[in-house]
Symmetry: C2
Subunit: 661 residues, 2 copies
Amino acid sequence: MTNSEKSNQMANAIRFLSAEAVEKANSGHPGLPMGAADIATVLFTRFLKFDPKAPHWPDRDRFVLSAGHGSMLLYSLLYLTGYEDMTIEEIKNFRQLGSRTAGHPEYGHASGIETTTGPLGQGLANSVGMALSERIMNAHFGDDLVNHYTYVIAGDGCLMEGISQEAIALAGHLKLNKLIVFWDDNHISIDGPVSLSDNTDQCARVEASGWNSQRVDGHDQDAIAAAIETAHKSDKPTLIACKTTIGFGAPTKAGTNKVHGSPLGAEELAGARKALGWTSEPFVVPADILDAWRSAGQRSAGDHAAWTQRLEAKDINTRSEFVRRIRGDLPGNFEEAIIAYKKKLSEDKPKVATRKASEMALEVINGVLAETIGGSADLTGSNNTKTSQTQNITPEDYGQRYVHYGIREHGMAAAMNGMALHGGLIPYSGTFLTFSDYARGAMRLTSLMGIRVIYVMTHDSIGLGEDGPTHQPVEHLAALRAIPNNYVFRPADVVETAECWELALKSRKTPSTIALTRQNLPTVRAEHTDENKCAYGAYELAAASGKAEVTIFATGSEVEIALNARTQLEANGHPASVVSVPCFELFEQQSEEYKRALIGDAPVKVAVEAAIRLGWDRFIGLDGIFIGMTGFGASGPIEALYKHFGITADAIVAAAEGKLK
Amino acid sequence: MTNSEKSNQMANAIRFLSAEAVEKANSGHPGLPMGAADIATVLFTRFLKFDPKAPHWPDRDRFVLSAGHGSMLLYSLLYLTGYEDMTIEEIKNFRQLGSRTAGHPEYGHASGIETTTGPLGQGLANSVGMALSERIMNAHFGDDLVNHYTYVIAGDGCLMEGISQEAIALAGHLKLNKLIVFWDDNHISIDGPVSLSDNTDQCARVEASGWNSQRVDGHDQDAIAAAIETAHKSDKPTLIACKTTIGFGAPTKAGTNKVHGSPLGAEELAGARKALGWTSEPFVVPADILDAWRSAGQRSAGDHAAWTQRLEAKDINTRSEFVRRIRGDLPGNFEEAIIAYKKKLSEDKPKVATRKASEMALEVINGVLAETIGGSADLTGSNNTKTSQTQNITPEDYGQRYVHYGIREHGMAAAMNGMALHGGLIPYSGTFLTFSDYARGAMRLTSLMGIRVIYVMTHDSIGLGEDGPTHQPVEHLAALRAIPNNYVFRPADVVETAECWELALKSRKTPSTIALTRQNLPTVRAEHTDENKCAYGAYELAAASGKAEVTIFATGSEVEIALNARTQLEANGHPASVVSVPCFELFEQQSEEYKRALIGDAPVKVAVEAAIRLGWDRFIGLDGIFIGMTGFGASGPIEALYKHFGITADAIVAAAEGKLK
């Protein structure tokens, strides 16, 4: 067998493992793995720096299958190159409950899955965050420790999604020349020919955004290799348009949408075997081909060993800092810094917007942590995400800590996912809470993957005033609380803001969204505690003077209103308590006893939040009083709006006393 | 005064009305109106076909201020050209509660506001839907009745957003050559120079997507006019890059981000007056300039009259059909067609997926209504949105009724908004329910504007099976129900699907999302009623044999499971009823008596939905039993998933009987 014949058969191993797994599952997508097998073979056998025996080696090249429906391509590669947890049994259990081989690649299900993909465009946008992280970490730690490529296989669907154009423009702007994207240019989408819906010149489009592009025959392995070599010399990110045939080898369905998302069927599969000269049993890879793949999987073992030696040769400080950051541990002095800062706040009692409080907290945090990377979708001065430690990351200076993401909320969120996945960095970035809608596709994946990304969402209610209903979130707190595994924080003052930041940074498997006000709020936590009270999710902020007749639950800017209402109620002879609820999700994690006691048995329960009621019944019951929004907001000065929508201490008192009668 | 001096002063009228209104409100965005005043003056005084005395004239050119933060540009234009409801008092009340002049243009607040803008990129994407509608309506009714342009002013922010790239690629594909976009190319975004985050060659990028582009000096009115004339001859959509100075005229702040979103301040405003030779009092436009504007506002009165004559000269059928469609009335035979169809369904009792049921309903609907325009984000065969009446709309044949939107959910949703706003058409289109996340930015605006757009969201739960958690919505029903003014329908069978479609089509001010299954469901409405039971939002589907011990509330695919549980409970001697809840929002609109009676007083209340609990307490109370999801789904065959997550009749029975003990 010539080398060329062998590498063709190596690609065929991917094709048939994939097609057979789909056939057995009677579900899945054979078209992409069969079409992109040559690209993947060239990449994994000649270029990719990786070590299946050490899947988490920090300096590995990253490979992202953005077209996640082609998951069997990735699973085949992981099996063939020798990842120990990707057995042939897993391949046979493709798409079965509990297998590592889910319908789409799920981060955490198997080693070598760098990110969860499937929702189109996300992987490509993740890869921009990964490639940026590589440059940042390289600037922080040098070529010895961080120097790798990020490779992506993307489909037409990825490129049509708006998120990818946001990510591409950002990557071009940042000149991320170690990012190389293979476009599986097969001219087919689910509905039929791509020309049904698109005539874009994708190469010209990425070039307009500061990329290089090349076009190759996606079934000519040497041409693909030459393109990669050229891309390695590029001073810009590169798109390699690989003209491929979807379902390559399938005798009647190749090159059509029939092979995209359904099993080939026995007859077509047999025809493909014949056409490609593949004679072994299903799920059996001939020994020589498997050996070749396994030895390709060991190609970088020497590189890995040399890298380990370089790490060990570093001074203890560099080494321990690198290891700490890759592990994602916070520095030992973090907690005490937060406590000292909180103490000062309780003494100073500043009256500031919580967005400002967030900036103040970040000033402390960014002084202690070197790994936080801030940013904003062009609302830096509004989101208050920039501190004295964070200067702009530019192509000339990747060693800084602030990203101007541009007006690209979705791309920003997905890039942050990529940064968190890469390791060594903790990304946080901001936009207005209402524009979480734009980022939601990526935010859901942050939660699904369970990674540490912190969304700083300011202007969190009608309290933003005149910008009006397009900019005023009313349903967003509820909609974000609806996402599983997502901490939604809404702090009430400077102290709670610091506590919420501490919790967000310590939370390694659950991402956080911090909702912050535009308007100033008084310090309500005037007595210092070392303890982080927000960790309870909800806690009694002000006790009733006697047995509580009224308990008021509130978050964020409405805590001040609740406290004012409490004062009035107490003056009117109605003992009343106030519970601050900075995080529903953390509250649910408390003991049943704690939860029951906190909700208490006051005859009147009131919830106050300048948003819709959804979710609040859990605190106040179905017959509780809710003071908040019932629809969209309006444009006007803040005082006029709170009065117009009846979110006032007077309204609380009137409603509560009405019920007490 | 020369013509040129006069037109400069006409532009200055926009500049000072805008800057003064922002100054008085002490809030707003003077930069864009001052920068884009020349573009707007040329467009409104020399090209735009419109009639301020008849703002709804169907054949008017559409003008969309995609950069909605520059709202004062639009309000100034409406006042100057003589829209009767845009008085100088309204200008003075800019951004005050109850004024027509909200912080961002709000559709419905004043005549001449064609769409709500502010969230960036939306207006540009709306305009693609408008321009497409113009071509479709032109194909249906001819040049005599429909023949107009769509003009847009977009900023850097609009172009950076992914949604705009989706819309631009779609417009290029469809060769919408009557769409002309002015890019206010002022090199400034909120954070500072655009170069902080972007280096895209926007002209090259749109050309890659099938547009023409031109570059002009945005303060040279004749050059702008020449560019528009060239664009009128284009066979493609056109981007006119207008190099402008943000805050043109402001002596120290022009050309910087300081003028973007804050009042100029008294000194700077005085300096601008001096620089531009503007001497009249605040909010006073010199009589000759106002006259010139008002006469520009009457430029198209003759065109309008001629158009009216052409309409009146049409045969009665054409005329009444055109008028009906523009009014948005449904044809008289619609309701009886639905009733006849429902009757047949209750007799035939087909067992089909509700996505298939939706296709069957659409086959009836599209046969009766000529104005429905279907589509999908490249999931036509999965969303079942195409019927025998709907063939592909192409640049060669705009007279058809189906849009292959491509893999562009956000652009699709915004384009549908544009179609609904244009008038004459009812857009519906599909994707998977989980990808409503991608479209949410536009879906929120559908609800805020209160327009008739119908989202067909299939694969609505873990019931989609093997594609796994990325594709399985669990929080999306709750998250969509959270949006104000949004009907979220989840029908249980063919009959309910037909009823939900009827309600969606009849709902003119509240948009609809119809969540539909991949899996087959039996017909549960086996007895025909002329009455649309889904109109109640929730209704008793199966009564208890005696006084109900258990009431089970369910939606969609879980209604079958609820009915099976009821059968078991009844067999075990526990009278049980089943309530189908196809639409929470319609239920809330019923009388208190109806709601109380329906929820009833069974000692055990159970809700079943293959999604999270959020929102269900309203039916079952805090101590009710919820059978559904508590986190993300998993990849596996449907039967395995329902069993794994415990969403079965057995689980309902066990939980209910456990509570009855």
